[in-house]
Amino acid sequence: MGEIAIATEKLTRTFGALTAVDSIDLKVQAGHFFGFLGPNGAGKSTTIKMLTGLLAPTSGRMELLGLDFQKHPVEVKRQIGVVPEGMGLFERLTGAEYLRFVGRMYGLDRATTEKRLEELLGFMQLADRKKTLIADYSHGMQKKLALAAAVIHGPRILFLDEPFEGVDALAAGALKALLGRMTERGVTIFLTSHVLEIVERLCSHVAIIHQGRLVAQGSLEELRAGVAGTEGETKTLEQIFLSIVGQSGAEQAGLEELTWLT
């Protein structure tokens, strides 16, 4: 068993009477491309926020790269990159200024920051927009910039909350290739997405959260093995997902009841 990049122990977060994340025990090995799935409101973003220091857990422990997050927040943050929900951009900076700001905040020296920001802007096809205010970027361009900011300091773990949402197919292809190369170099990627095809294609390991509880965790093969099916049939991630969260037939039956649409 390799190095554990992310480990949580009974991680819980409540909002008043609502338990958004309920005592989850996650284990993600270093270098894995890890997909974190769940229906809307299942607790995915809350978990990512806790793992990246944007939200304090109500109880439980988190260890990233062997460091207790609550005890060593600065050391942990230095080694992780995040594309949070909403992207967290300063909209009144230009793309280049924002990357420069983030680079300096993560402790890169000026020359390294400049070199990397030029490379990143070029890679993300934003080089000709580096003097444009982020407020004037399209949603997809903002997403690419947020991703650039998340990797500028060379993180060992990358947290991505819906990273491909609004990104065009060309850029998405380049990003997927980049992320793939990062995992080859040992970077752990923790990704949430509603597009199960993307997760299936990119991720080697998956966890599924439902109503705040972790209901499945393992490699795709392990998950397939855990779901009953016809002999010889290879289940898709979508089938696994629907089977596990228990909504395989209910909603489709509901659709059939909309009589004026059929």
Binding site: E75, G88, R100, M105, K115, G122, Y137, S138
Partner: protein, 557 residues
């Protein structure tokens, strides 16, 4: 084929839209924060009703008096007052925020005619229109009481006047919407607006100096006002009193032309909106250029950036925050124009009270003028510190994701503000010296000491307020851009206490006859405040960690 048997008529659609607006208001008030706004709405409603009813009596009495006496031509003044109110007030309450709500109706199957009528209907639904219609009605009533024979002309002219006003108001509104939809034009417009409001302060001194000389020219230009709606309506009504058919026809025809022209332009504007005019400001697709940026060498990149480190004496994170604050200031039109306020106010006050002013008998001694105006300028400049994260938006998350202690963020923000205040005060001081002269050295030292103490002392509390009572603001908007009530009262209370302490110390110095006592006292207080500030940074970092959910939720909304 859709299952829609028949489209609803205009009245049914108006009813639906009124219901929609009511639901929006009702649901909005269910949010806890908005319940306090309800109190404000009730106060505003009562105040507005009193204003409308009170002025209705005034317009009733005014119209009666004008027509009963031999001052029928003064009716134009009443029409002018309503005209100006109707056209200018909505511009102020629009708050320079683009309002797309009306345009969202386009998703429904509306004809262009229905869309136009709905647009006009919206025009009758605002406060300026409702109050103006009440006042015109009061004038009609007053005219009927004073001279029943003018009632037909008065009523006809009033209908034309009302229709023209609502059309013009919607036309101006739709053009403003078009202009303000773009960020750059919106910010420029707001800047010019703030500047013009500030410039109004100079009206009195300028009139005092040049008023008599300019009077003949002003009177000459006033003649052109006869062609505007207020004068046209007034002259038509006055014509009916004097039996002057030509004046009645000319006035009514003039109003009719105004109505026709504004209607034509409004039809064109609404037609453009109806066709799907794009008022958004999303970025155009990036042109595909040959990607040659990847291979930029470190040397070239370094050469492209400014030379060397920015503020090398500061830690990199603090310097990065200072630089970010500077960039944000230069891109916040409203805040940037606020920086013009201190020097402008110095010039204004010195014009009013300084050497050579028309109010020479009230001229102030620089000995008191200097500390007073410096206190006023600090009051203006430090208030934003009580909600220092207002403009961060979603970027606030970056501070919590980055590997830093939050005190670096506070330090960066505070250093930038302190430098800004120092710059502004230096500029204002130079203007003061030019206009009024130097105060004594002791008073100069005391004022600088008091200023340093006031800023240092307030920053600690302002940081606490910023973390505890954040309120999101958006650059380029005026509507709803205000601090949390608690932050406002905190700032108010602290500033009163600090001002009282400073004034008390200066007074004690004067009573004891030693002009250097205040300077020494302020030096001690500044040292204590600075110690407190440094000691507070760690606690404030911990507070930021506790309040991060509140900050993120409030600012990312």
């Amino acid at each position: 084929m859709a299952d829609v048997a028949q489209l609803p008529g205009v009245l049914a659609q108006l009813r639906l839209i009124a219901g929609l607006r009511w639901s929006l208001l009702k649901n909005g008030l269910q949010r806890k924060n908005n319940r306090w706004d309800l109190v404000g709405v009730i106060f505003a409603g009562v105040f507005g009703a009193l204003l409308v009813v009170g002025l209705s009596f005034a317009f009733f009495a005014g119209a009666s008096a004008c027509l009963a006496g031999k001052r029928a031509s003064w009716m134009a003044l009443l029409f002018w007052a309503i005209f100006l109110w109707w056209q200018v007030f909505p511009i102020f309450v629009a708050g320079f925020g683009a309002n797309f709500e009306f345009k969202t109706l386009l998703r429904f199957p509306l004809s262009r005619r229905t869309f136009y009528l709905l647009g006009l209907g919206y025009g009758f639904a605002d406060f300026a229109a409702v109050s103006s219609v009440c006042w015109v009605a009061a004038m009609i009533l007053g005219a009927a009481m004073a001279r029943p024979e003018v009632l037909p002309v008065m009523a006809g002219v009033s209908v034309l006047f009302v229709l023209m006003n609502v059309t013009l108001e919607r036309l101006i509104g739709s053009w403003l919407e078009k202009i303000l939809a773009k960020r750059k034009t919106r910010e420029l417009f707001i800047g010019l607006f703030v500047l013009s409001m500030v410039s109004l302060n100079f009206l009195n001194p300028v009139l005092q100096r040049y008023g008599n000389a300019a009077r003949p020219r002003i009177l000459e230009y006033l003649a052109y006002l006869d062609w505007l709606p207020g004068s046209l309506a007034g002259s038509a009504v006055a014509g009916s009193v004097h039996g002057d058919l030509r004046a009645i026809l000319l006035g009514a025809a003039g109003l009719f032309v105004w109505l026709g022209v504004t209607s034509g332009f409004l039809w064109r504007r609404f037609a453009a909106q109806y066709r799907g005019e794009d008022l958004g400001e999303s970025a155009a697709p990036a042109p595909t250029k040959k990607n040659n940026a990847i291979a930029v060498s470190a040397e070239k990149a370094k050469a492209q950036s400014s030379n060397g480190e920015f503020l090398p004496m500061l830690p990199a994170t603090v310097a990065a925050v200072v630089l970010k604050e500077f960039r944000y200031l230069t891109r916040n039109g409203m805040a940037f124009f606020t920086l013009l306020l201190p020097p402008i106010m110095v010039v204004f006050f010195t014009m009013q009270f300084g050497k050579g002013s028309a109010l020479r008998e009230h001229s102030l001694n620089p000995e008191m003028f200097f500390p007073a105006i410096m206190a006023y300028l600090i009051l203006i400049l430090i208030t934003p510190a009580y909600n220092a994260f207002a403009f961060e938006g979603k970027g606030i998350q970056t501070y919590f994701m980055a590997p830093l202690r939050f005190q670096d963020v506070l330090l960066g923000k505070n250093l930038f503000l302190a430098a800004l205040i120092a710059f502004e005060l230096s500029l204002s001081l130079a203007l003061l010296v030019w206009r009024v002269g130097w105060p004594s050295t002791a008073m100069f030292a005391a004022t600088i000491g008091a200023g340093t103490f006031a800023v240092t002392g307030q920053l600690t509390i302002a940081n606490w307020s910023s973390l505890s009572f954040p309120k999101k603001m958006e650059i380029g908007k005026m509507k709803g851009q205000r601090n949390s009530g608690v932050a406002v009262w905190t700032a108010f209370g602290v500033q009163i206490v600090v001002a009282a302490v400073c004034a008390g110390i200066i007074l004690v110095g004067r009573l004891l006859g030693n002009p250097w006592i205040p300077a020494m006292a302020f030096t001690g207080l500044t040292a204590a405040a600075a110690g407190g500030y440094v000691a507070s940074l760690g606690a404030l970092s911990r507070l930021a960690e506790k309040k991060k959910e509140l900050l993120i939720e409030t600012l990312c909304r």
